[in-house]
């Protein structure tokens, strides 16, 4: 079983440090030093998450046209579904022209979503409920960030990614570890625009000067608590994933963590004592792309020759929820 193909799509609009510098009165140097990000990609007004996911999957299928007839499970992970009903995966299925005998499921997960989705893909393959899984992730955090929230604007970027998971003689997807702590929900949340808290006239008036009037809601993040959560849970997750897979720390060729922020990645690398040459990041050009950060990093690790066939890569997702998950892939 392997991840046989990876593709991704980034919107064309760039938010550069120069632009942030002019808006917030901080130097470009300081912005980069604080965040580790040079540019982020921002959706156009008409694009939503599924559009970015569609473009990533379309690119993948254009490169691998034979897959279209093989895919019998489509998973779509995003925090911004198109509708309350129907599932967005079914609309993507139609847009991509996939065959009819194909299951479709949405997964409204955040930064741990890629690892969760991969576990679902593996389960479907093992149970012989599917033979070829197209797993699409897409997120548009920029749509829920207030224009004056410097830290959020500086860190997050929009993206879509698509991978294919299928049975093969080479490669292996290992055992998974998961964790959840709903007490942390308030520390990273988009309240409005939901069933519990609807967008009303007062909200639209309050944010009438904002692009789109923040009509998708507004992200609120307690950075300090998110940092504490990450430092507390991820090192334990590393140990648990190793143990569950019967591996030693030295057996791992590459670690790819959710690309949360430069600060969190550095702090976790130090705390977990991961050598720099085994710690892959792809962050400075795109920022934190939520559920897309791990597949995009994997794509570039392969392209740069840092992730080769036969390598064991530990992937770890963690964030909103709180939720966290990890596994080891023999690539």
């Amino acid at each position: 079983m392997e991840i046989s193909h990876i593709e991704y799509y980034l919107p064309e609009n760039k938010l550069t440090n120069r632009e942030l510098s002019s808006q917030f009165g901080k130097s470009e140097y300081d912005i980069f030093k604080m965040t580790g990000v040079k540019t982020r990609r921002i959706r156009s007004e008409s694009q939503i998450g599924s559009d970015l996911g569609f473009l990533a999957a379309e690119r993948l299928l254009q490169n691998q046209p034979d897959l279209k007839e093989k895919i019998d499970l489509l998973l779509f992970c995003t925090e911004g579904l198109d509708y309350k009903a129907p599932t967005t995966s079914s609309t993507l299925h139609y847009r991509l022209g996939l065959k009819e005998d194909c299951a479709c499921m949405d997964m409204p997960m955040g930064c741990a979503g890629f690892v969760y989705g991969l576990s679902a893909a593996k389960a479907a393959l093992i149970c012989e409920n599917a033979t070829c899984v197209l797993f699409i992730t897409a997120d548009i955090p920029s749509s829920v960030i207030h224009s004056r929230d410097f830290e959020l604007r500086a860190i997050f970027g929009d993206a879509g990614a698509a991978v294919v998971v299928e049975n093969s003689s080479s490669g292996k997807i290992g055992r998974f570890c998961f964790g959840t702590d709903g007490s942390g929900a308030e520390n990273l949340i988009v309240r409005q625009g939901s069933t519990r808290q609807q967008i009303d006239e007062t909200w639209l008036k309050k944010f009438k000067a904002e692009p789109g009037k923040l009509s998708f809601g507004r992200m609120e993040m307690n950075g300090l608590e998110i940092a504490r959560f990450s430092l507390q849970k991820v090192p334990v997750l590393v140990k648990n994933v190793l143990q569950k897979n019967g591996l030693a720390f030295q057996d791992i060729d590459l670690f790819i963590l959710h690309q949360a922020s430069d600060f969190i990645l550095t702090a976790l690398r130090r705390k977990c004592k991961i050598p720099e040459n085994k710690f892959y990041t792809y962050f400075s050009e795109i920022g934190n792309t939520v559920s897309c950060s791990i597949p995009i990093a994997m794509y570039h690790a392969v392209k740069e020759g840092k992730l080769k066939k036969g390598n064991k890569v530990m992937i770890l997702g963690f964030g909103v929820g709180y939720s966290w998950a990890g596994t080891v892939i023999e690539y």
């Binding site: 300081d30 300090l224 504490r228 430092l231 600060f263 702090a267 705390k271």
Partner: protein, 77 residues
């Protein structure tokens, strides 16, 4: 455990700080260029060197580096 070690760690982490700038009574929020990012760095630094994960409340109540040091000592005891 010495307070001077904590001072050295902070000076080395905040790389714009020349050695010897900080004293036990220095109010860390008055360090030039202090931002919320520095608070995060402080939490990670203390966690890394002392295996103590400061809470937001502890950080909020601490003013000087000595205050921070005492929290760490207290948590370690």
């Amino acid at each position: 455990m010495e307070i001077n070690d904590l001072i050295k760690y902070i000076e080395s982490e905040f790389d714009e700080l020349p050695r010897g700038t900080l004293q036990p009574e220095t109010s860390f929020r008055e360090i030039e260029g202090w931002s919320s990012m520095h608070a995060l760095l402080l939490i990670a630094l203390v966690d890394n060197h002392y295996d103590v994960l400061l809470t937001g409340e502890e950080l909020k109540n601490a003013v000087t580096i000595r205050d921070l040091f005492l929290i760490i000592v207290n948590r370690k005891s």
